[in-house]
Subunit: 154 residues, 2 copies
Amino acid sequence: MALEIHGMAGHLIRRLNQISVSVFQDRLKAAGFDLTPVQYACLATLDQKPGIDQATLAGLIAYDRATIGTVLDKLDTKGLVTRKVSPRDRRAREMHLTENGRALYRTVTPLVQEIQTLMTGGLEPGERAEFLRLAAKLASTGNAFSRAPLAEPD
Amino acid sequence: MALEIHGMAGHLIRRLNQISVSVFQDRLKAAGFDLTPVQYACLATLDQKPGIDQATLAGLIAYDRATIGTVLDKLDTKGLVTRKVSPRDRRAREMHLTENGRALYRTVTPLVQEIQTLMTGGLEPGERAEFLRLAAKLASTGNAFSRAPLAEPD
DNA sequence: TCAAGTTAGTAAGCATGCTTATTATATTGC
DNA sequence: GCAATATAATAAGCATGCTTACTAACTTGA
């Protein structure tokens, strides 16, 4: 090992994330789409839980409220989501995908799924499953340490 | 699984990174230090490879050159590193830790090592070793996909 | 009922980490 | 020797993702 930090968990995890984001951007761009990982996460969640508000969305995908607010500004500007004041709670905005948003989500999902296998392509099938299991376990046990913990841990 | 994305490799990796950075910041702050993960990586590398230039440093820890430039501005301002024009190549800046930089690095390193085990504390010892092995393998095979690939893969 | 506390969303600020472009300097090939 | 190319560092721009602080609105309980 050339350097001490190369073996550290934090360094390895950072590099995996760096690679993951890079692959995501490249593949989507190559296919003609302009969508970031967090934007995709928002579309996917709104497709499966239409009508939720921003704080709920942030909790479901483990992002900070403020971050998700600016991401939704973007998706709103792109015409992919709608936000309207909730009749039950005038602080909250109920969100839905637009037709364009839903269409984009459906088109792009198979590509995103391909990307997941591509990203873990360096592992044998058995290793891949084990890596995902351990990563999920770690994310779950570490959830409480996160600044933006998952609201409904699996 | 509540949501599709919760099982995706990219999402899990992002959350691990989020947790990792959060733990790092919290523990160092609690101990009275103000140092980010990338800043620590720079200090560690300069301690082990004194005299290298910025591009070499960036390559060794797999960061973009421009990013590392601003990080070094910070460390310079904090009085932790020195940069002087190389006599052999006037484009390059040879870097060294200052006394303060070296002292901080030595003080903080045991804490950083504790953090690594804390971060992976949700796993059994055997699982932990396996996770690190798989993460290293993935980072290595995925290196070419990264925007800022490691210059000297292990 | 109404004060105290909580929650939704936004704003401003800051660091990370990438992009492209520019400047200065080295190197290479003819 | 010198033109073409490559490299080191910086700058400007942009998105992510956090922080704290604020306003508006809701909930709780004495």
